[in-house]
Amino acid sequence: MNEPTTLPDKGGHYGIFGGQYVPEALNAALTQLDREFDLAMADPAFVAELNRLRVEYSGRPTPITELPRLSALAGNARIVVKREDLNHTGSHKINNVLGQALLSKRMGKSRVIAETGAGQHGVATATAAALLGLECRVYMGKVDTDRQALNVARMQLLGAEVIAVESGSATLKDSMNEAMRDWVASVDDTHYLIGTVAGPHPFPRMVKEFQRVISTEARAQLLERYGELPYAVAACVGGGSNAMGMFADFIDDPEVKLYGFEAEGDGIPTGRHAASITGGSIGVLHGMRTYVLQDEDGQTVESHSISAGLDYPGVGPEHAWLAASGRGTYEPVTDAEAMEAFKLITQTEGIMPAIESAHGIAGAIRLGRRLAEEQPDLSPLICVCLSGRGDKDVASALKWFDLDGTPDETVGGF
């Protein structure tokens, strides 16, 4: 294995992955961003302001919660979750957004644009824009604006402008395309606030750093509470930002295994999935070289997942590198497995996770059960990133479990 901590190189490469496959028109902005990001992170005033917002605004540090009743279903494992769902706006997305929005201000850019799938990152971006007085425009696939009208309205209530994208498959990847198009034309006064560890360099590196706080906190919390490092850390992987945040401070702990759980949708054999690492191949998409769901010709193939936030046909390049190098283990989790885990953690622990996060929980349960067979003497501590809360997913869960909000019984009717 190479020295992980020296990655990426200054061109943004993680081995063969990453880089900057973008129109020249964006080069200046990306170069500026790369430079300003480093300057900002070296500037105590910036770091202090970011930290102040994390603590006073977003509610960090988030706790870790041990889940005894859920763990009882997972072999000998002790499952602990890192509670990113308790962040302001309900997921880890705010960590990144606060960082980039502050950076936009620092760069003198008064406008931010963002892509969004179900709307989580869009809401988080609109939130940070409202907080810092930035103009905000969010691109969202038409298919998604139709099925997530509430989130459209939420962004509008926050003062953002929401643009429906009808091109391509009219979903997340197309909203990224459209945001790129906007950025090419507006780069002077606009920052493109990418929502995950994907896209052209320096986004994967920068977003990782903004999400690193997850593992920095979790590592200290685990050591304090348990006096040991965990057997493994785990997370769901869409673009990969919550997973990268969860992995970051553990990458250099070789004894801690890194597990990423991708969305397998209906199952890899069906072709209807979003598991880019497990079921994709190496290619170039959205400015980076990584694992991509693509056809024979290199045309991007639509991804499928019950979870909007994982429904993306690529993955952050550092994950591609971690997978290829063997440092990380990536496994797919089907819709059905994720929803079963969604129900289990909800009913045993009173924590309704985002369906994204339920993939991580499902993976951890499976891992726990597998380890109980393979290494029955082990009682492994597994820390899963609970990347977000499930409020946004109640309607999907309803549909999945065939509920319709009808009460169990009626009394007092005459």
């Binding site: 034309a185 780069v187 290619g283």
Partner: protein
Amino acid sequence: MTDMRAAEPVKAPGAQLAGAGISGRRILAAKAEGRAALVGYLPVGYPDVDTSLDAMRALCRPGDGPGVDMVEIGLPYSDPILDGPVIQRAGTTALKRGVRTRDVLRAVEAVAEAGATPLCMTYWNLVDRYGVDAFARDFAQAGGAGLITPDLTPDEAEEWMVASEEHGLDRIFLVSPSSTEERIIATARACRGWVYATAVMGVTGARQRTSSQAPQLVARLRELAPDTLVGVGLGVSNGAQAAEVGSFADAVIVGSALIKPMLAAEDAGTPADLSGLRAVVADLAAGVRSA
């Protein structure tokens, strides 16, 4: 990968980087006529593969008069981040109708037969997926002159530098108004054929007026890389604009303005009707000759 941060571009193995190449010579020929070269973009596969080849032939010979000097054969791609709505629509439709990467080879042959210089404009993943060397080999074999790569800058072009040298293909990289001096110099050196100057900050699409940034960008290029041929694209929509651009650029690149009449023909239920296209080409060809 090539390091673009240094003002001095790294030399690709055994390459004469600033060469005019096939497409550059075509531009020089136009220059010899006292005019800018005309480059027309059309996607292969729209409205279907056969008709798109017809359209490219029409581009080369719109009628009695002259057509384009070069055809920029667009390879439709699922995620065309530099394309405006017109090209997106044509490309998406072509993909829906089954166009394949290999169809570009037929287009190259058609264009070459029609007497223009065939270039291909493609997002990088399609080439990457085909295999960079394999693509270069097949493309060259079909008679193609080179590639225009909207999302590949010299920074990531190591493999392409090698393959293009190997197969004698031109490399047309883009520069933009926001490019630094260092990058303009380095990009110009990495190019073979000519340099594609994106005249506005923005995606493709015919515009009412051409950009005021274009002359400046070309001037910067001429100053920083004196011997480089420059094509200007993004936004040219008629003969008058072509004349204007042709007055300061070595090649005038037109895309959306050519596709619009084809979309109109499809909307009118006569997708094979290329008369609108021919009229635009004739206007543009006259334009570059009117200065």
